[in-house]
């Protein structure tokens, strides 16, 4: 197993390098002088020249890429001009907030989605199945940012159960219950779409598996139906559900950008949008590379989980 993990980790290196190349090439598309683009139109000529020197912007493209990559490897993602602090510091500060939000939403969508899908399949065509199918359809059709806004109207404004936005109360907050109260709505809104997708897929994976011969064997052995469905079948269905969870993690991470905007959540997504609007290119570049690399690593964890679950995969 350790060898397998190592092998998968090594395979991530070219992917992450590819990501840096793509981001670099996209940023090279910026029209006009890159230093001016990075510093904004009110940059002084001295600053432009200094940046040109620091980033090697006067050098050819390939050389610039190597310099940029080398800097990142030493932890130097450049300096954000709009925040006037190192890009990496800002990303690390923001990333934990995103991780809490996206992580909670991911756990929610996995648990609820798989459970709803399994129930839906186990009681196909029942009222429960129809209800779940209906909710799922709404879940995957409603834009998460709109859902978030409607939740604010209902739970924060009308019912006054939950705070409108932010991560902690400004006065007297900061403890876990405070965090959970702030987290509840954005996490649910973010999880909605992915939950729908996971539930749908789990349902069809379960229906597929329930047709298999080994399910008939379990019944022939006299295994109680509940255990046939939620034991034998669900376990086998997980083999096709887990890869989808990996893909959904990407969608949750993506959706977090909208949700962070709606709920004023101090995460990377909001940072990126602000940075784009302020044309803070280095911050965007660093944020995209950092988060994408984390996502690649997460997908390796998914692969490893799959290897643990399915003995037929050679580890």
């Amino acid at each position: 197993m350790a060898g397998y993990i190592l092998k998968r980790l090594l395979s991530a290196i070219p992917v992450i390098l590819g990501i840096t190349v793509i981001v670099f090439l996209i940023m090279a598309m910026i029209p006009g002088d890159p230093a001016t683009a990075i510093l904004g139109s009110y940059a002084t000529p001295e600053n432009v020249e200094k940046l040109n020197r620091d980033l090697g912007l006067d050098k050819p493209l390939a050389q610039r890429y190597v310099i940029w990559l080398g800097n990142m490897l030493t932890g130097d993602f450049g300096r954000s001009f709009s925040l006037n602090r190192p890009v990496l510091d800002e990303i690390l500060d923001r990333f934990s907030a995103t991780l809490i939000l996206a992580g909670t939403a991911f756990v929610l969508c996995s648990l609820i989605g798989i459970l709803a899908g399994a129930i839906s399949a186990a009681r196909q065509y029942s009222l429960a199945d129809k209800a779940i199918t209906f909710v799922v359809l709404i879940g995957i059709s409603v834009p998460s940012f709109f859902l978030g806004m409607m939740m604010i109207l209902l739970f924060a404004v009308k019912l006054r159960w939950l705070p409108v936005s932010g991560m902690y109360a400004i006065y007297g907050g900061g403890d876990l219950p405070d965090l959970l109260a702030h987290l509840a709505m954005p996490a649910l809104a973010l999880a909605a779409v992915a939950t729908g997708v996971v539930a749908r897929l789990s349902r069809s994976a379960m229906l597929e598996v329930l047709r298999q011969d080994y399910i008939r064997t379990a019944r022939a052995k006299g295994v109680p139906e509940g255990r046939v469905v939620y034991g034998h079948a669900l376990r086998a269905a997980m083999v096709s559900i887990i890869p989808v969870l990996g893909i959904q993690a990407g969608f949750v991470l993506s959706g977090a950008v909208y949700i962070e905007m709606v709920f004023q959540w101090p995460g990377v997504g909001r940072m990126l949008v602000d940075a784009i609007l302020k044309r803070d290119i280095l911050l965007v570049q660093g944020g995209v590379v950092f988060v994408s690399a984390c996502y690649v690593l997460f997908n390796i964890a998914v692969d490893v989980a799959q290897g643990l679950l399915d003995p037929r995969i050679k580890t």
């Binding site: 992917v15 590819g18 990501i19 793509i22 996209i26 940023m27 598309m29 399949a121 186990a122 359809l137 059709s141 409603v142 834009p143 940012f145 709109f146 806004m149 604010i152 404004v157 409108v164 069809s204 379960m206 229906l207 329930l210 298999q212 080994y214 008939r216 064997t217 019944r219 022939a220 052995k221 006299g222 295994v223 109680p224 139906e225 046939v228 034998h232 376990r235 086998a236 083999v239 990407g250 969608f251 993506s254 950008v257 909208y258 905007m261 990126l272 949008v273 940075a275 609007l277 044309r279 965007v284 570049q285 944020g287 995209v288 994408s292 996502y295 690649v296 679950l309 399915d310 003995p311």
Partner: protein
Amino acid sequence: MTAFLRLLFRNRLAALGAAVLALILALVILAPLLPLPDPDATATAERFARPFSPGHLLGTDHLGRDLLARLVHGTRMSLAIGLAAALAAAVLGSAIGIVAGYAGGRTDNIIMRAIDMLMAFPYILLALAIVAALGPGLLNALIAVAAVNIPFFARNIRGITVGLAGREFIDAARLAGMGHGRIILSELLPNVLPVIVIGVSTTVGWMILETAGLSFLGLGSQPPQADLGSMLGEARAALITAPHTSVVPGLMIFLIVMSINLLGDGVRDALDPRLKSGALSRPRATTRVDRKGPVPDAPAKGLLDLQSLETQFHVGPRVYRAVNQVSLHVGRGECLGIIGESGSGKSVTALSVTGLVASPPGVVTGGAVRYEGEDLLGMPYGRLRAIRGEKIAYIFQDPLATLHPLYRIGAQMAEAIQVHHRVGAKEAEGRALELLRAVRIPNPESRLRNYPHEMSGGMRQRVGIAMALANDPEVLIADEPTTALDVTVQAQILALLDELRRERGLAIVFITHDFGVVAQLCDRVAVMYAGRIVEQGPTAEILARPAHPYTARLIACVPELGGGKRELAAIPGLPPVVDKLPPGCAFAPRCDRARPDCRAGEIALAGSGRHDVRCLHPEVTP
């Protein structure tokens, strides 16, 4: 096409989606003709007018602009942008996919590597990077969303192209001297076009949502130009004081995306033939029993007694009569063979005994199955479950498919015991070990920790047998347990079963298509054809003097009794499909003794009761 549309609209949800979408499209197309105020005309005096205010059906926004007019124009913009993004992604992605698939080799490899890299991003980060480079704006948002979706098309289309590129007509075109460009355009493109169209229809909703999302973030359309996303984004500041300004565009996005989703699901279902056959419905815990006639209550003849059993498959309007009026019995220590070609109904008969026929589509429509005199068919689930595996156990044909792939052998065997008896894990494992020894598996201790895929076919089948024996059942039903195995292993397994029968007094029902196997093991044999028993009697007698022409042919197919596996293909013709049975003898089309009266009407199973045959002109009279 019309059949497809009819199928599509029979799906009520898909029809609803289509209707809503048509309504929205009509609204958008007719927008210039509608008497709407200028969507950009501001009137600060009338800010945040509520819906249904005079002159403003949906109210006004923070600049006093008419919301209805803005909604119609915003919808128009969002639809146009989403569709444009989908088309752009489809054209570019498909072009990349076709070129990669057609070129193959290194070009393909490099292109697909690059595509994989693009897919490694969480999609929005890629879109944000592109918008960051190009600057916010509706066109740039469109480019970003299209770019992010290119890999989806490239991958799908490449896969199909690779399949097509190897086909003869492409080679023919090449030999005819067509250039690569022409081959791609005139030979490949028409073939992949349907897939591209389906791809566009399934992604367009998504792209509308994504472009609206970027506009919502302020990265797409810039004021005063508005799409649904930017309307929602601008309204967010007044969410609490004037919620209607948010609800109106938000609901519209929701309606558009949902109607496209509904329609897309409908299209997918209509195109997926598996749904029609009922293959995707969940099989129930037991076969559905819906007996048309009274339950036969003849006294039981053996330990297990099938009385006029009828099992059918109901697929749509078609009824397949898989098992038709089958009566069989088997006593303690006895071995009954059921023989027939595939499709003769022998396996369905076996599975009907404890309600294991997948249902839907299977339905037991008549008869009774008595175990120790008690009818299993009408039994509540709990009692039937207690009999399954405890009193009546099964051995199935292909143990790779019939053992759970993700559980260890030991766990599967222990489970077979623990679902019927309160024993600890240690004890169950000890018992499993004993059973593996009993079926002569070498190194049973280490085998317990194996997964099914780690064993050979013969070993797996022994595990299957050991598991069936776990609770010392009274009846063992073996459904072609040796078909997948080679001759030596087959002989060993048959010997093992025979020994178990003698030692434990097991009643065995042995299903096979091989008379050689029947001769070795079975006391009595029943021959099935097209769902019915056509002959039954003591094995030795039937082997020596087969009465039914079909039986005679089956026996003639066995060159030497006790040999390996053989196919029954030596009999000319195919067994009939059991939904359109001809009147009279089902074997008549393949029978060379057939006379006109054979096709006239029902033929009864007749004889001494010890040896019966269903034939008007038998080879011998039993």
